[in-house]
């Protein structure tokens, strides 16, 4: 692939608003990013899909650290399961991928990082776009495709599919344009089976999980143990995890890491956290509070 940015980098770039904030709501973005990673791997012929399942094809590294991490994860868990299952499983690691993608975009000088102090410990973090060149370029490519009857390039097809199924079309087009070109957008969006599975995964997610209500419930819970149990239940619901063993180490009660997670929640007072396995750090979402344990 000759594009300067990978598919997950492009979709994350599209989600950054003019203030440097990231939308849509982070849980949806997790699933979209996971799907973007799988699409990129599919275009690079490392995985394949059919109407029933995701198939491992080639474990050779792509040279991109994020894609290779996901590829290694898939090969370490080589079960023949539907695409939605793998979207969920990779989505479970999306927090750390998001961090790494933002770092990669920073390194490529597409965005910069701005930390703003709110209290002595907590700061908000923004990612303003530098110069707009790459953002403009991806929007132009995708709009040119939508406004024509051309056969799509694979990367633009993936972006349209992600934007359509991830409810992110408004980052690419005006409301009026979305309505005018809806048939064409739908035609492109459904051309990839991974894209269609994203639609299923996101539809189930939005139907079964009310994150804002859940967050309010978390605020009313007193003990760190209860907060962590609620977080684990939320993760299980979100990613449709049934077995304890499918949870990551830091959320698995039988694993020593679980006690450290509990310790971290006790320290920061919230279970709105994730664990960056690569850096061995716990991170509070949307704040820069980072603790190495």
């Amino acid at each position: 692939m000759s594009n300067f940015l990978t598919i997950p980098e492009e979709i994350l770039l599209l989600s950054i608003d003019e203030t440097g904030g990231i939308s849509p709501e982070s849980k949806t973005l997790d699933v979209v990013l996971a799907s973007a990673i799988l699409m990129d791997l599919a275009i690079r012929r490392r995985i394949d899909t059919d109407l029933q399942k995701l198939i491992l094809v080639d474990g050779a590294p792509t040279g991109d650290a994020i894609l290779d991490d996901a590829l290694t994860f898939l090969y370490e868990n080589p079960a023949e399961k539907p695409i939605e299952h793998w979207v969920s499983q990779v989505g479970l690691r999306a927090d750390l991928y998001k961090e790494d993608l933002l770092a990669s975009l920073t390194l490529k000088k597409v965005i910069k990082v701005e930390n703003k102090r709110i209290l002595w410990m907590l700061t908000s973090r923004k990612y303003p776009i530098i110069g707009n060149k790459e953002l403009k370029e991806v929007k132009t490519r995708v709009r040119d495709l939508i406004y024509s009857d051309d056969i799509p390039d694979l990367q633009e097809m993936a972006i349209v599919s992600l934007a359509y199924y991830g409810s992110m079309l408004e980052f690419l087009l005006t409301t009026e344009a979305i309505e005018i070109y809806r048939t064409r957008i739908e035609q492109i969006a459904k051309m990839d089976l991974i894209g269609q599975s994203i639609g299923k995964a996101l539809a189930e997610l939005s139907a079964s999980f009310q994150f804002s209500n859940r967050a309010k419930a978390i605020l009313g819970i007193k003990t760190p143990e209860q907060k962590l149990e609620t977080l684990v239940e939320d993760i299980k619901t979100k990613y449709r995890i049934v077995k304890e063993e499918d949870l990551p180490d830091w959320l698995r009660k039988s694993h020593p890491q679980y006690a450290r997670t509990l310790e971290f929640i006790d320290k920061v007072g919230t279970s709105d956290i994730y664990y960056h396995a690569g850096r061995k750090e716990y991170v509070v979402r949307d704040y820069s509070s980072v603790f190495s344990i």
């Binding site: 599919a42 275009i43 012929r45 995985i47 394949d48 899909t49 059919d50 109407l51 198939i55 094809v57 080639d58 051309d150 056969i151 799509p152 390039d153 694979l154 097809m157 035609q187 459904k190 051309m191 990839d192 089976l193 991974i194 269609q196």
Partner: protein, 107 residues
């Protein structure tokens, strides 16, 4: 998987036998793009002996269609129901013309 290419009037007739998946779709793509590079921009792919097609196979045909451009033509014929279903579900039947028989495609 086997590919047989013959010239029929002004088009290249491509018969594929076997599965079209990640293992062999690259080979199919390379052969069809080589035809386009040689100036053969009217291609008819017979799918009569194809039992299975994956996303990778679809993407390969998409890349060939892209390479042929608006002046070119990529058509398919004689699809089995299971393969036709994949084309229909993904909307590839709205991008490429699919015919029941070789005669229909060449008419």
């Amino acid at each position: 998987m086997e590919i047989r290419i013959t010239q029929e009037n002004d088009l290249q007739y491509i018969e594929i036998q076997g599965r079209v998946d990640a293992v062999n779709s690259g080979e199919i793509q390379d052969k069809l793009i080589a035809l386009a590079d040689a100036g053969h921009i009217k291609l008819l792919v017979c799918m009569e002996n194809v039992d299975y097609i994956s996303s990778s196979g679809l993407r390969s045909f998409l890349s060939v269609g892209k390479k042929l451009g608006k002046e070119g033509r990529l058509r398919f014929c004689c699809m089995k129901p299971s393969v036709k279903e994949v084309f229909t579900i993904t909307g590839f039947n709205s991008i490429f013309q699919i015919f029941e028989s070789k005669a229909d495609a060449m008419a």
